[in-house]
Symmetry: C2
Subunit: 763 residues, 2 copies
């Protein structure tokens, strides 16, 4: 008999049917009696003072019910930390990017709302603007925020060991500059909010990763207690990090509803959803890495400049993840990392759980170059530098479980690495990348997850959790965890999630924490309920509750599975004995680097760490420059797979997102005055199914001491690893290092041209 | 310093604002995307076989999305007990009353749905019918249910002591027959349901007294687990007992939604809301009561016949409450009570928490007659027969707390009883009545209430309870209880109630149990949360948690209120120490008469008992027969008033309902073929504000050991007591016993005529 009955089993996700049949409702589908429709007036300048807004004409338009401008906002600025509070959710002083919110209208239909926008008269005073991060950091650049001299939004600095001496003493040092552009999250569901502000407070539905986290800034911005903000679960059509934060759309819909005393729905257009929501940072990375004669990494010295756009957003976290991921992926004692996130007059860039690609992707390219120079197989070099369980990083994070080497070996085996590397026909290449990501991040007093578990009279159970499911399968995951802990089958578990008025607070589906945090809380609450049930069963069986187990719908004494009670019977007996079985539990990250970690990044930064290795095979068309992905293999150490099917889907999703999307296709372009040139799915390159090759997902297990049933996050290390794999495959195919992402046909042609020139120069 | 900071204070109810501003939404106000509208085809016969239903024409009408008939229902019959399951929620064999459901249509608008009804062809075979309970019990009467010979729906029989001998040995025996007609609940909100049946189960909003209790029959009728029925809180415009049960409307809306795969809304017309929902039983009572020379009651012998209409409904409970109330109100050792609830071809009669009026109202009239014969003041006679704390009734129920005598004295004082009784001018009268009702009824495995309490990061708390508020102030009541227990002010308590998918099971707002059961559960859950908080505070204060108290927003050691911590600070410290404060608790009735009590009515029938005395003053116009109410005084023993303002409102409401409504005005009338003649507010007599005199509410306290803070129910004893008070005032004014309710002008004129004839005959 296997250790577990429910977890570790491949099951169809419990949320699949409503999504497939179309019965699942998204925010834009909702309606409330008396609901109004909102539209937003946006800035036609990248940078301008707002001198005056005259809404009087618009107010007189029949059907208009409320108009708001920055004057209706209380002086509150949003930011994840005190020092990054720079964004008034509807600005009143000036606009800082092309498309920023200036005013919003609620009317009885969308046409009238749109018409009203044209009647609002805004006097702007255009200001000089800057669209490039490095330029923004130069002296004399236009100042975007009064109190942020030099346009520095965030600076992260880590300096451990003796980096300069170590590099000096290294056998080889590789130094490069890598760059990557803005990417879009491309959620297929446009951002939409339904808000109803009444005497009891705010009721709001919107796509987001953490309702409980969203309630706080909304309560601050509206000047009401957190408990008067009710953020509800709703089906979500994509997140990817871009829906981590409170959105001006949430605030505007809420404020319009408060003013109009009616429910208000605001649905972003596709263009707004490309331009006026968070985007992924552009970045450059200057990286030096040293190795000794045996290929051991001696030191890493990295400087990252990120284009943060007009506001800080979750910048401190976005600017930090690179150093954490690099530290976790390979062992080396000397590490310097500096990240500067600059303000520019572009839309604010948000959270991406594995960014910038130029940091870790660049490092992976450099490792292959060094391996080549050392005459080593890149796999061998990576195995030599892999971390292990119990390893302590330079900044004193302990790796709690680790099967990194196993992911390297299994991915290489499946991809035919040994047979293919160096043996492929001209124009083809195979490359490898490695990645590590965190699970369960320190987030202060909002960093814990709680859960309730309720036994019902039919003998089934209800799990009440504040976590949301952005599409990754969280609902299904917590159902499996509860079922295993309670000894029930999954169909006996009802999951109810994310209504901030009822569900215990939850840290949100951020930072790959859902399984370890929300799942852990559910496990604890289920254990609490189970223990109460076992007490009743013990009376019925005349046994010691400590000797009893609940499994497969039954309760019995260990070793005596034949003398059992049905759980449903025990649950009903409990009720007949005047005992309502209600469980509660919570889970907090085992991270001692709380709160202070950004300013003083030392200590345990996360509760668990996952590892992955990707191998990609490409064919490069030397005529057109086009890179065709032939195959992707991805092995991921997820600790323990709660649902192997879901983990495989997550591995595939990560491979897709990092490979064809991130490494080969996606980028935003801008006009000289800061207008987004490709804010639509026609001009923005996004992979079609024909761009995606076979993806082989491989699950590797370790057994994490923190995660429920040993689980960690399920697949994201591949989003890191696959960048290096694809980039290295291209490097392998063409013999030149692609230092610019995405590796578009133009980039490849230019690289080939440069290479030709160099060999011509040499000859 | 008073014992309590929050409970016992007069506060405006926390739910008042949304009701007053109109922002509160009722079921009929709701809409869902893609929603359809339903209409119901009803029987034009009081009793008929359904031979065939042809829906084909209606189905072809454009815009019609689903039609259901009894054939779509699974063979499930609803009833509160196994032996009363007689009602298929949409009948397939025959109809049993004029207006019963035959088919229902869901269409894209109401007009089309109504048009479709006309296209449904039903072949009926009319059957003989019976409209009177006593006739229905005669041999040869039409059989309404195959398996219920003699049309006996329910029979309750209690026989304690030696009734016949005691009556024989009595000094005086009074014997009468009283009758009362059907009344309507007259909820101002017509019944309305919104149902959405999808792959996850049923979501339903409807006015009802117990969402958790409603989920079960709906799950049975639909053949799905209880946990797949989600009944939600919604503002409710009146209940009064009539919304205790599952309604055919709920079932039809759910079934239509399942068939159409779209949300369906069904809103009853005013006529349907008068005729096709539950009504209050008509009844006759034959009562014999004996007293000794000193006016002590020796025995009560009562036979009640109730007209139950076509189905059992909650008949067993409705037929039992009279004996419980009579037993509780006065002490006497010998008691025989028989109630027969007969089936008739009228709409089914439902729960009324204090019925039939003819039982207790009749007894009160008889006591006044006996007092007169004994030459005693009716007040004196009542004091002599009052029960007391610790008293054990003939059927072995213990009175746990009691201030009955105090209610008598205070009501009499306030009403000027001593000065007025016997001293009023001709045509005027003053009368007294006494009543007792239960709190916290035994209801089996669904008889408990649970609650969760969650501390929030702002330091306020959320109460999660399954109870609903039908208008009586339950939300406000549990907020006060939680606030007191947690040491917070009421504005720091958020109340979230009644969503069966999330809230702990609750026995419902039935049987005056909300305060003792739901309130008790909330108190227990709050105590659980508070104890966790005190643990954290104890660490902070370096104190023993047992020595700490939480009060007025602070935590401090008993006796050292100056060395305190703000609760909000402790709550945040708990979070910063990785502790989510989540509390859970439950409460069950302290009643040993569970489940079996109807068949074998012995033992503790309720957890607590409240008592009340009413005094009414009337003026009778001997020309027109009109009774004008001049004044009402009502003193109620509520144990402890959680919110005195709310208790006074409940006392006034009860006085209104029993006095002008029940005793003087309300009755239904029928055509010979069973059609309701006055199913509207024009023809049905309902008091206007001009019919209502001053009402003086008086709160009397006892201290119940079961209820939270000593509380019991808040006002309903007056619904019992006021019937006797008004009827006795009329008796006092005209010198004849009014044996027929309501005491309409015709009744008074007939009584006066009879009296005249009798005195003529005598002279």
């Amino acid at each position: 008999m296997s250790e577990y009955s429910v977890v570790g089993k491949r099951i169809p996700r419990t949320d699949s049917v409503p999504r497939v049949t179309g019965e699942a409702k998204y925010s834009a589908d909702l309606s409330l009696p008396g609901m109004l429709y909102a539209k937003v007036l946006r800035s036609p300048y990248a940078h301008a003072k707002i001198l005056n807004i005259d809404t009087s004409k618009a107010e007189r338009l029949p059907g208009v019910r409320a108009i708001i401008t920055g004057k209706d906002a209380i002086p509150y600025k949003w930011g994840v930390f005190a020092y990054t509070r720079d964004m008034q959710l509807l600005p009143s002083d000036k606009v800082r990017y092309f498309g920023e919110e200036v005013a919003a209208v609620a009317a009885i239909d969308e046409d009238i709302a749109r018409e009203a926008l044209d009647l609002i008269q805004v006097d702007f005073e255009p200001l000089p603007w800057v669209l490039d991060a490095e330029e923004a950091l130069l002296e004399g650049a236009p100042q975007i925020h009064q109190d942020k001299p030099g346009n520095i939004s965030v600076r992260i600095f880590v300096d451990e060991g003796e980096v300069d001496r170590a590099l000096e003493e290294s056998y080889l040092v590789q130094e490069d500059r890598f760059s990557s552009p803005e990417e879009n999250y491309c959620q297929l569901e446009p951002y939409a909010v339904l808000a109803n502000f009444d005497s009891t407070g705010l009721d709001i539905w919107c796509p987001n990763a953490g309702p409980h986290m969203k309630a706080r800034p909304l309560s601050n911005a509206l000047g009401i207690p957190t408990s008067e903000v009710r953020v509800r679960k709703i089906t979500i059509g994509g997140h990817g990090g871009g829906r981590s934060e409170v959105s001006p759309a949430d605030f505007m819909a809420a404020l319009l509803s408060r003013k109009a005393r009616r429910p208000v729905k605001l649905v972003y257009t596709r263009e707004e959803n490309f331009n006026c929501v968070r985007q992924v940072h552009a970045a450059t990375t200057h990286s030096r890495v040293g190795v000794d004669r045996e290929g051991r990494i001696t030191a890493v010295d990295m400087k990252v400049i990120m284009d943060g756009g007009a506001y800080a957003s979750t910048g401190p976290i976005a600017a930090s993840v690179a150093y954490i991921m690099i530290e976790e992926a390979y062992k080396f004692a000397n590490f310097r990392y500096e990240a500067i996130r600059a303000y520019t007059n572009k839309p604010p860039r948000g959270m991406y759980p594995h960014h910038p690609r130029t940091a870790y992707g660049g490092l992976e390219l450099q490792l292959d170059v060094l391996a080549e120079k050392l005459g080593m197989d890149p796999l061998e070099l990576r195995i030599k530098n892999a971390v292990y369980e119990g390893y302590v990083t330079p900044t004193k994070t302990v790796i709690t479980s680790c099967a990194e080497v196993e992911t390297m070996i299994k991915a290489a085996e499946k991809a035919g690495w040994k047979e293919k590397r160096g043996a492929l026909p001209p124009g083809r290449g195979i490359g490898m990348g490695v990645g590590s990501v965190i699970s369960g991040f320190p987030m202060g007093i909002r960093g814990g997850s709680g859960a309730f578990v309720r036994f019902n009279e039919d003998g089934d159970a209800t799990v009440i959790s504040g976590v949301v499911d952005n599409g990754q399968g969280n609902d299904s995951m917590i159902a499996q965890i509860a079922a295993e802990e309670l000894g029930l089958s999954v169909d006996k578990i009802k999951v109810v999630t994310a209504d901030t008025s009822m569900t215990p607070a939850d840290q949100g589906a951020y930072s790959q924490a859902s399984t370890v945090m929300s799942g852990g809380a559910v496990k604890a609450a289920a254990a609490d309920a189970k223990n109460q049930l076992l007490q009743v069963a013990a009376e019925m069986l005349e046994a010691n509750p400590k000797d009893l187990v609940a499994r497969d719908g039954r309760i019995y004494a260990k070793g005596s599975p034949d003398r059992f009670l049905d759980i449903a019977k025990v649950a009903r007996t409990a009720l007949s004995r005047d005992h309502a079985i209600l469980g509660r539990g919570d889970r907090w990250p085992s991270a001692d680097a709380k709160r202070e970690w950004v300013k003083n990044p030392r200590g345990q930064v996360a509760s668990a760490f996952s590892f992955g290795t990707a191998v990609a095979e490409v064919e490069v068309d030397r005529e057109t420059g086009r890179v065709k992905l032939l195959n992707m293999v991805a092995a991921h150490d997820c600790g323990y797979p709660i649902n192997p099917l879901a983990v495989e889907q997550q591995i595939q999703r990560s491979a897709l997102e990092a490979g064809p999307e991130g490494t080969l296709l996606e980028k935003h372009a801008w006009t000289a005055n800061g207008q987004n040139l490709n804010a639509n799915f026609l001009d923005y390159w996004f992979p079609l199914s024909t761009d995606v090759p076979n993806i082989d997902p491989i699950i590797v297990t370790s057994n994490d001491p923190f995660g429920p049933f040993g689980a960690k996050e399920g697949g994201l290390s591949i989003s890191v690893a696959m960048v290096g794999a694809v980039a290295n495959a291209v490097q392998n195919a063409i013999g030149v290092t692609p230092k610019q992402l995405p590796i578009t046909p133009e980039v490849v042609l230019r690289l080939l041209e440069e290479k030709e020139k160099q060999s011509e120069a040499k000859s």
